[in-house]
Symmetry: C2
């Protein structure tokens, strides 16, 4: 995204997650002037530090005498965040602005809205931020009927029908992979990067065939490294395949017979696409940033 | 174990693992004078430090002019350990002393033998230390025909027939539980101790019914904590049940119709017994230290 000089910010789109903060000052035509990336995520911020963090980043974009609407999604709305935003309860439409939390700021140049998350009671689950990407997907395709997968540290699978989030499921898969590859006895067996597609696919298939064998299959990577010099990139890819294969198998009833919309174009989204392909499932990759901005734009359009 | 004053050490039994070192100076009647526990495990030791670590602990037990036989099992025999001891290949009898590595020491008061581990080629697996406990089990019951489970950070299931280790399988289960409960986003959801048997059993049953749901079931604990104040001890017990249940299910063909000998009397062994009981399997708990000593004793008896 190239920064556009001269144009003025009219409002601000914000995605405030656990580890990242993304800020888009928006022009009057609802397109971003630029994107500001910061590591001042919710995880390391005291509630009192949110306002100053944001004003420091926005300083070049204020117009004297005018307040900027700031539309925020993500973990900034959690209990440990800036100001708690309630959860809407699925099945529901992605929460609209009238459910947002208005944050009192001492700086009058900010009108801050934090969008709610979505919760589900049985089985229990929560999201904060992804609902805004779903709103973005629905803004582009209001009649969408299918499943959206948002890969990440905690991957989410969201079923969508008639404009509603009907149900969803979150998986610890990405975090498990990080812990296994960086903290466990396998950290010396698994490469820190690199990719072997056929090893990944073999891992997927093995997990789908015998999901209960996970903890043995993982140890076996170490044994193969000791006894047969297993290649570290192959080991890493197979381990990732075991974990993602397990998840794919669990979500089979959700994606069977449907095209899965994968939000993200990074290595993780590609891996999910490859895993689903081993099972004959069709996928389309969507741009995560575009969905987030579209969702925040819909919310902003609700300010009257 | 009460220390016996006055009696002399004739030989020394040693279990040198990754994180622990256990040393038993043995009397002429093959019973231990005492047990010395140390945290000088293989994981933190330079190869040059093994001899001095051992002589410092044994100083009170040397008899002038006499060398002590030291029979060692465990990770001290790994490539990164004191001196590499080869692996025997399963199916095989637990390795005897003639396969042991003699370690050159500069201190003439030590005659050090390190017992080999056991490897398996397909599926790849390795053990170092457990084979000596199996030797101990077979010393007590030479006709044993069944399965021995050695619960721990890397739990092993060993099938035994006609005095041989016929095959075995190692699981990363214990390490996964540690990482999840101490390092993941669930560290605030799971209590650091405490036990809820019915939650553990429910976790086992859920994992056996839907092993592929592991990463979702784990995240659900966090959601239940957020939305329904799930009790941290209940969460911990259910998480442990998911992981151990998965393993039990994978090992079903090995234990079905047999009595499982569980080596250990600690909380982990009790959990495995409870998990197996949910599936109608019978277990007997055996004393791990007794098995280790019996195995080392058998090896020592082979010195001619």
């Amino acid at each position: 995204m190239t920064e556009r000089k001269g144009a003025k910010a009219v409002w601000v789109a914000v995605d405030w997650g656990t580890s990242h903060l993304r800020v888009w000052p928006m022009a009057s035509d609802d397109t971003p002037l630029c994107r500001i990336d910061s590591d001042m995520g919710m995880g390391g911020l005291d509630p009192s530090a949110y306002e100053s963090t944001l004003t420091a980043l926005l300083e070049p974009y204020f117009t004297p005498g005018t307040a900027l609407d700031v539309i925020c999604c993500g973990m900034a709305g959690s209990r440990q965040g800036w100001s708690e935003a309630p959860y809407a309860t699925a099945p529901c439409r992605p929460p609209s602005l009238d459910l947002a939390t208005r944050v009192e700021t001492s700086d009058a140049r900010l009108n801050v809205y934090i969008l709610p998350g979505v919760k589900q009671h049985d089985p229990a689950d929560v999201m904060r931020g992804e609902e805004t990407q779903i709103a973005g997907a629905l803004a582009a395709d209001p009649g969408m009927d299918g499943v959206i997968c948002l890969p990440g540290t905690h991957t989410k699978w969201v079923s969508v029908h008639s404009g509603e989030i009907t149900s969803f499921a979150t998986f610890l898969t990405g975090e498990l992979f990080q812990l296994i590859s960086q903290q466990s006895v396998l950290r010396h067996t698994l490469a820190s990067g690199g990719w072997d597609t056929s090893a990944f696919e073999a891992g997927c298939r093995a997990a789908i065939e015998a999901p209960q064998a996970l903890a043995n299959a993982l140890f076996r990577l170490r044994a193969e490294a000791l006894l047969a010099n297993l290649d570290p990139v192959e080991a890493r890819s197979r381990a990732s395949g075991y974990l993602i294969g397990l998840e794919i198998e669990d979500m089979r009833p959700r994606w069977q017979g449907k095209t899965v919309v994968l939000v993200g174009e990074n290595e993780i989204a590609q891996a999910y696409a490859a895993a689903l392909a081993t099972q004959g499932a069709e996928t389309v990759l969507a741009d995560a940033e575009e969905f987030t901005l579209a969702g925040l734009r819909s919310a902003r359009a609700q300010i009257t």
